[in-house]
């Protein structure tokens, strides 16, 4: 995989790569994708799903409830007045 593509993919994935990492992943992903060319010759089929078993009609009724105390979830986060603090948006 060329360095430009690796850089573009890394930006999409929110990962900053060092020069060494760019070099390494470019080489590794190239090798891996060459191996994946095996998929081009694999037979396909018309019916295929998201899961290996059929999962249908398993939705439960939508009933509001509180499974976990919100304060428990907040205890390890940086908060201000029970709001979760995050980085600046702009």
């Amino acid at each position: 995989m060329d360095r430009e593509t690796v850089e573009r993919v890394a930006r999409t994935a929110h990962i900053k790569l060092t020069e060494d990492e760019l070099e390494k992943y470019s080489r590794d992903l190239g090798e891996i994708l060459t191996y994946f060319e095996l998929l081009d010759e694999a037979p396909g089929c018309e019916r295929y799903g998201v899961n290996p078993i059929e999962v249908a009609d398993v939705l439960r009724d939508d009933v509001p409830r509180m499974d976990i105390d919100a304060d428990l979830l907040l205890k390890d986060m940086e908060t201000y007045d029970r709001y979760v603090r995050g980085p600046r948006l702009s």
Binding site: L39, A56, I68
Partner: protein, 442 residues
């Protein structure tokens, strides 16, 4: 060894084998009926849960995973969370930001991955059961390297609630133990419907008919590329199975060679979306500079705390889902998965199980692993990946030892929801198999 004795020796034993990332501080089992450990990608209320990643350090979940909750309800005491490859990304449990477990038969060798700490604990402690998780072979591989029984059930058999996802369409929670009978016993505890995971709600009841396997198919594709010791042990095991009255037939399963690339496309595609949630805000200790712009904040945390293999798989999975590449990789991989499922169904019409060695070689030394490329290690999974991609239940059974005394395992695969056949097979095999437990010196 009594439960109390095991609990008193946890610290000493762990300093030698490094099977646990977190351990209980209790030294008394109280009224516990049994002790168990769980892979560190299953959330636990009373222990830090990191899934082998530095990005989750300091994460103390507010809830138990369903599998852990059910073990506790049955009287189990959780004694430790086991070390693993970061988020399950590996074959040897060496891709970890935390501790790397050591093989109980030779401390210079790996336990296998990614449930390496679980396999280690199951091998080292007497009467111990450990919960593992398999995405592409992460129960059977370490069970094979550490010489224990291990089962990954049908996809959907055990609720994934509380499991830190790797690949949602592939992840399965299962059981590892040095005793064959434990597979049936503890799978019975953790299996079953759970409204918190819809994929668990389609399952039929798990049967306990003690049905025996009468015929086995051995795919030619599963006996290629084996080390000499593994090939010999497997041939001897086939002779033993015939002696037990089981028909053994060689078959062709041409789809198996496509399972490995299809698996890595599906698994990394799903992983790259799952790992988008780790940005230094919601899980683990916030470690970043909140004055940064959000893009820079997220990127700096992810770049610093994800390990090498996690980054590689995020990049690979992001790429294979991108516009322009999606049809060639992600969509094709989904079709190949169906082709593999169809191949299993075809063979399992005439046979009760498919059998091959679990791994093509025995546990490698750490210095051998460090010389392997990423692709080399992916290729090592070619025997365990097909059953995982198909969601069919599969089980490692110890079947011999190599010239260095390292364990060798074989993997039985049954049709969806037919775990009963596998349990019975393990129980029957155990009667005559001479298991060599590792010498444990605390």
């Amino acid at each position: 060894m009594s439960m109390k004795r095991i609990m008193e020796s946890l610290g000493t034993v762990n300093s030698k084998y490094q099977m646990f990332h977190a351990m209980t501080e209790d030294t008394d089992p109280g009224d516990a009926k049994f002790l168990f450990s769980a892979k560190d990608n299953l959330t636990s209320k009373d222990m830090e849960t990191c899934a082998g990643s530095r990005i989750l350090e300091g994460y103390f979940p507010a809830f138990d995973a369903t599998a852990i909750a059910r073990m506790r309800e049955a009287g189990g005491k959780l004694i430790g969370k086991t070390n693993m490859d970061e988020f399950g990304f590996g074959t040897f449990s060496t891709n970890s930001g935390l501790e790397i477990p050591r093989n109980p038969y030779d401390l210079e060798r790996a336990c296998g991955g990614s449930s390496g700490g679980s396999a280690c604990a199951a091998a080292v402690f007497e009467d111990h059961v450990s919960l593992g998780v398999s995405t592409g072979g992460s129960i059977c591989c370490p069970a094979s390297f550490c010489g224990v029984y291990g089962i990954a059930p049908t996809y959907g058999r055990v609720s994934r609630y509380g499991l830190i996802d790797y690949g949602n369409s592939l992840d399965k929670i299962g059981v590892m133990s040095s005793k064959a009978g434990d597979l049936r016993k503890y799978m019975g505890m953790i299996a079953g419907r759970d409204e918190k995971d819809p994929t668990s709600c389609v399952q039929p009841e798990m049967r306990n008919d003690h049905r025996k396997i009468g015929s086995i198919a051995v795919p030619r594709e599963g006996t290629e590329g084996l080390s000499k010791d593994v090939a010999k042990a497997f041939a001897d095991a086939l002779d033993e199975l015939r002696r037990m009255g089981i028909d053994v037939e060689e078959v062709d399963m041409p789809s198996l060679k496509y399972a490995m690339p299809a698996y890595y496309v599906l698994a990394t595609s799903e992983a790259s979306t799952n790992l988008a949630r780790y940005v230094g805000m919601r899980y683990g200790r916030p470690q970043g500079d909140l004055s940064l712009k959000f893009d820079d904040y997220f990127s700096s945390i992810r770049s610093e705390y994800f390990g090498d293999e996690a980054k590689r798989r995020i990049l690979l999975g992001t790429f294979t889902r991108m516009v322009g590449y999606r049809d060639r990789y992600y969509s094709k991989a989904r079709k190949v998965r169906q082709v593999v499922i169809d191949d299993y169904k075809r063979v399992l019409e005439d046979h009760d199980a498919v059998l091959a060695p679990t791994m093509p070689f025995t546990a490698p030394r750490f210095d051998e692993i460090s010389g392997m490329s990423a692709l080399d290690s992916y290729k090592a999974d070619y025997l365990t990946v097909p059953a995982n991609i198909a969601g069919t239940p599969h089980m490692n059974v110890p079947c011999g030892y190599d010239g260095n005394g390292m364990p060798i395992g074989m993997q039985f695969v049954a049709d969806h929801w037919n775990e009963d056949l596998l349990f019975t097979m393990a129980e029957e095999w155990e009667k005559d198999f001479e298991m060599r437990r590792p010498e444990v010196v605390a």
